[in-house]
């Protein structure tokens, strides 16, 4: 993970001839690395069936500390010429959908218990070495199947102060639509009052709450960070959804 993380942090700060080049100009290298390390992946995210932490660490990228805001890239596939394919552009859970430097959450504190049931890899069932990229018409699905959980009423202000939004200026519009997806939590020995959770922040896709596509609830990623267990509705089961 360290090799991928350092590579992507470095790459995300390089200049592109056009913003749409971001997922393409590292495509061959990413493919080579995915094969060489016998993992699966794409869109700057890496997965290993035998090591659930790899996918979750990989998804816990965040806006770089040197970036006031990321900018969403508008992919005009026709303009990509030879590189264009029928495949969809990078999903919101990939840093390739944005311009700007990224970092990763510092997960060097107490060992982490990864949430196995709250997220399903886009490559589950795929062979080792499976790799997706924009322009690859054989690319698999780009949605991330997750369990979405609510943030407790009254916990908004504290949530806003603890997480890293990809585009901070949009955060004030989120309101009750803001949800979280748990990727892991701080491991502890014995009973503790509260724990720290590593989460993705998501909002409903489109302008309506509970927007559905093919019967599924659809969300998009808006940030990542740590949330205290006090702020998350952990008593509820959560809702199955997809992040696009």
């Amino acid at each position: 993970m360290l090799a991928f993380r350092d590579l992507y942090r470095y790459y995300s700060r390089l200049e592109h001839s056009s913003p749409e080049g971001r997922p393409i100009e590292i495509a061959r290298l990413e493919k080579r690395l995915v094969h060489s390390f016998c993992v699966r992946g794409g869109y700057g995210i890496v997965d290993d069936a035998g090591n659930p932490g790899l996918l979750r660490r990989s998804l816990l990228w965040c806006r770089g500390s040197d970036e006031p805001s990321l900018q969403r890239i508008s992919f005009q596939l026709e303009g990509l010429g030879h590189w264009a394919g029928k495949a969809p552009p990078p999903p919101s859970w990939s840093w390739m959908a944005y311009q700007g430097g990224i970092d990763y959450l510092d997960l060097s504190f107490d060992p982490i218990e990864w949430a196995y049931r709250d997220i399903e890899s886009p490559w589950s069932g795929a062979a080792m070495g499976a790799w997706d990229v924009i322009g690859d018409s054989a690319a698999g699905r780009t949605e991330l199947k997750v369990v979405v959980r609510s943030i407790k009423p009254g916990g908004w202000k504290e949530t806003h102060s603890q997480v890293i939004y990809d585009i901070p200026a949009e955060a004030r519009k989120f309101g009750r639509g803001l949800k979280c997806v748990i990727l892991g939590r701080q491991r502890s020995r014995g009973f503790v009052q509260t724990r720290t959770y590593c989460v993705l922040l998501v909002i409903p896709l489109g302008s309506h709450f509970g927007h559905r596509r093919n019967g599924e609830l659809c969300y998009e990623r808006v940030g990542a960070g740590y949330l205290c267990s006090d702020l998350i509705e952990l008593e509820e089961l959560g809702v199955l959804a997809s992040i696009f």
Partner: protein, 230 residues
């Protein structure tokens, strides 16, 4: 250039970085000839060919750029007038000749550009083309085809210390072995496309504004004789 030839020679004999003669050659190469005034032309390797070539990593920069198109490829097969080439390409040819290599790969010349070109077919081969090159020349200090990369370097003040005996003079100067500053922060390597070119190359010679760097599997070497290990 003699230092660069020594780096190559040392790497060839001591490291496992070099490639055996490439057996899946690029569709087209530039034949730089063997002398200063040799004709430069496009060469299309035959399946039986087994040869070495150097590849150029560079920024195209702002137009107008030098390209091969469908309507000039025939002409370039017999002659590419040296004086019409942009400075970066002229320097690359000079370096290739100095390395005693006959062939050079430059993407904008060896891949036919334009709607009727073979970019679509060739783009998938770039990884192999770079990794099978004898070495890659990185025009790190150039922002485009017309800049060149063999221009006068930055000047650094130095102090010459002459020992009382007949030992060699020692020069003390500012630290210029900063790979990050002179290579990674250079115009070429701040561009995302160059990352893959650097990753796939087995051996790269970086021509920067301060000095020349060498990189291979065993680490980085500088003209100042510093070695840096990964």
């Amino acid at each position: 250039m003699s230092i660069i030839r020594q780096w190559l020679s040392h790497c060839d004999s001591q490291h496992a970085c070099g490639v055996s003669l490439a057996n899946q050659l690029p569709t087209r190469l530039i034949d730089v000839g063997s002398g200063v005034d040799s004709t430069v032309r496009l060469y299309e390797p035959m399946s039986s060919d087994s040869l070495n070539y150097v590849a150029l990593s560079h920024l195209w920069g702002r137009p107008p750029c030098f390209y091969t198109f469908v309507d000039n490829v025939d002409h370039y097969r017999s002659n590419i007038p040296f004086e019409t080439l942009p400075k970066t390409y002229q320097h690359a040819i000079w370096v290739t000749r100095e390395l005693h290599i006959r062939y050079l790969w430059i993407d904008s010349i060896c891949v036919i550009q334009g709607p009727q070109g073979d970019f679509s077919a060739e783009k998938n081969r770039t990884e192999d083309i770079l990794s099978q090159a004898y070495c890659v020349i990185a025009a790190s200090s150039a922002s485009g085809q017309n800049d060149g990369f063999l221009q006068t370097r930055q000047k650094f003040e130095s102090i010459r210390l002459k020992p009382p005996s007949n030992e060699a003079v020692i020069c003390v100067t500012k630290f210029i072995d900063d790979f990050d500053r002179y290579v990674l922060q250079s115009p070429l390597h701040r561009n995302a496309r160059s990352l893959e070119e650097r990753a796939f190359a087995r051996r790269t010679i970086y021509f920067t504004s301060a000095q020349t760097f060498w990189e291979c599997g065993s680490g980085v070497r500088c003209e100042t004789m510093t070695k840096m290990y990964k």
